[in-house]
Amino acid sequence: MEHAMPIDFATLKVVWWLLLGVLLTGFAIMDGFDLGAAIMLPFVGRTDAERRVAINTVGPVWEGNQVWLILGGGAIFAAWPALYAASFSGFYLAMLLVLAALILRPVGFKFRSKMPGPTWRSTWDWLLFTGGLVPSLVFGVAMGNLLEGVPFGFDSELRAHYEFGLFDLLNPFALVCGLVSVAMLATHGARYLALKADGLVAARAASLSRWTALAWLVLFAVAGVWLARSGFGLRIASGALSGAAPDPLAKTVLPDPGAWLANYQHWPLARLLPGAGLVAPLVLALVPRARAQVALFLCSAVGVAGVIGTMGVSLFPFLMPSSSEPSSSLTLWDASSSARTLWIMLLATVLFLPIVLAYTTWVYRVLRGRVTAAHVEANPDSTY
């Protein structure tokens, strides 16, 4: 299987860039609603029973959803090892914050309702809230920093060095991006709760989602205008041949203010992505008390995909731009693994991802219907 590679290296890199987008979008849509539901938890549920309704809407599915993140990490490791190495270590303390938050979630879901005390339960509720908020914020902040460029470089043995700490990441533009992410995932989570929860919880989620959608719309627009007026942007001046062996030092990159918008000039169709990122929250903010809950959830999923896609297309072909040593930037031509590894990983993805999607769909079908307070109260053992 590994001797016959019907696709050339450059195409494989592009395919894996698209697959990276698919995985990140899959994560943002699937695990995004878990994170968002956790952010909404203290606001949609006032009593313990109401909070248990909210928790049990995601209870049976969040574990599977979180695998999108694990798989995203694994796929970046395998397909974009240079990106995995530089971004995970460069954003060290931020990544550890995310890890801590993500560790809280499994135990939070599992442990919260296993003890009766109100203090115990409300402590876990706030920990779950934190577990939803921190990753949403940090992922957005990281994206903002990628757009600004991160101060890092490589020596001739491709050993990285960085010139920034945790607090350098928390600059104003990146914080706006972080808030876009929080507002977006909170909306998405609220739409999920409106679809899957019952009674007051669903009603509160639906009405809160209009405000978070408005915040998403405004913040995303602000970030876009800021980006257009900023001096961010890089351009490859020479080197970085699409079919060459990946070596991040084999190119010259120059600053090019405004370059992050250039792709929308080259490919007008790509404007659909930021368009979706704006129209979806607009619809969600305007449509009052709609009956079509599934359609509204899908609308927010499309909006999420639009925002992630905007990120990818704006940076293209860059993956991790360097502000201090632009020529060390990681691009999709020089940060990938070998052609053989990309090919094997592509085969594995083509084989297994449809199977994953098939059984995930089946699981959601089995779990269809709303989670009601009556059901949660009647089944303390088989619910969270």
Partner: protein
Amino acid sequence: MSDSSLLELSRWQFAITALYHFLFVPLTLGLSVLVAIMESVFVMTGRTVWRDMTRFWGTLFGINFAMGVATGITMEFQFGTNWAYYSHYVGDIFGVPLAIEGLMAFFLEATFIGLFFFGWDRLSRVQHLAVAWLVAIGSNLSALWILIANGWMQNPVGAHFNPDTMRMELTSIGEVIFNPVAQSKFVHTVSAGYVTGAMFVLSISAWFILKGRHLEFARRSATVAVSFGLAAALSVVVLGDESGYTANQHQKMKIAAMESMWHTEPAPAPFVVFGVPDVKNRTTHAEVKVPWMLGLIATRSTDQEVQGIYELVAIAHERIVAGIPAYTALRALRADSHNTAARATLEAHASDLGYALLLRRYVADPAMATPAQIDQAAWDTVPSVGWLFWSFRLMVAMGFFFILLFGWGFWLATRRDCDGQRGFLRIALWSLPLPWLAAELGWVVAEHGRQPWAIEGVLPTFLAVSPIPASSVATSLAGFVLFYTTLAVVDVMLLRKYIRLGPKPSAAVGEP
């Protein structure tokens, strides 16, 4: 803080988070299969006590599983956060099994585990049973891919060094998957998980019987545990022996250090049952030897030698010297990729390049190394003899103890005589922590024995670390210890609570 404190802290963090993770993994592996077996009996016989067993052990499985997932995320991310150069250098190969693990195995277990707990009323009996087995299969497949990744660290097959990208690249995925080290580690590790699951069920059942509670339930659980446990304990020792054999093919230094064997012994080599390794004087005191045994285990022959530490250090010395031209050629190639002479030199000595990298600890350019530095680097290839010697012996002793304990229980179970044997029940109860201890010691042998290499013979650990401030790692290490310990305490507290509550006998189950 200096580079060496960065290295030490990073290693401690990896070791602690990995050992923590492995407190939860073996129980997940074992209990997932035991629960699926119990549910199979329920579906086949329709007797509700088996459903009670499935639910009770399933609840404990779930509490443990959550911690396994929580600590597992750290493992997936930690290569990037703390071992960035490692990730760059071998991600082309090492990332593949990790990604496939997510796609093929972890998605399976994580997606279906929700249905296992929430699907009792929504699925038919057979559907629910299928879900239980899919969770068990997913967990075990997960272990397979992780151990393929780990096996490659011990025996890096199917890969070559590419100077143009400055990293190792995959040449054969088949060799990586069917790596004999990976395969023997997989079966050994999974069997150890089954022993852990069986001991967990046996110990808690023994406690119920000693207290005179839930007797019907506890007897059946104990019977399943001793049968499954005996098979698993036998296989863990037999397959551990297979691990020893494959290790001797690929990591001779690990075997020599485990045995504290400083010099090659005439074939067939004896096994040191007891001794006091003296690293400073490079000797072992008060040895008690069993003739022939090591030779048989490590070489499956009576005429092949098992090499000693001194002899292996001499080989490492030769390889370091042979690797220096490769490193020099690599530097020339990085400056000018068209230098064909340098490319040819590198090709010729590529297999020893990793040994030259050992010198980077002492000198920026290995070509400038003094004979004393080369000597020092050669001795660096000896892992911590004391740790390996004792960890290995304790682990093996426990392995044999498990066979005896489960064998005894199995004999009692066939005579239906568990209840009266309070001695057996007490020993079974107090043996609860031993499988965890054995498993952790096993990892100490495997990974401490891999040192000084991150990838055996390819990349030294000290070069693999992320170039981040040591203070950041100190912060995260402290955070992990505090955070994990708190969670582990909560976890044990919950397990205790649910064990004390005991199984809830369900009313006669109606047709679903």
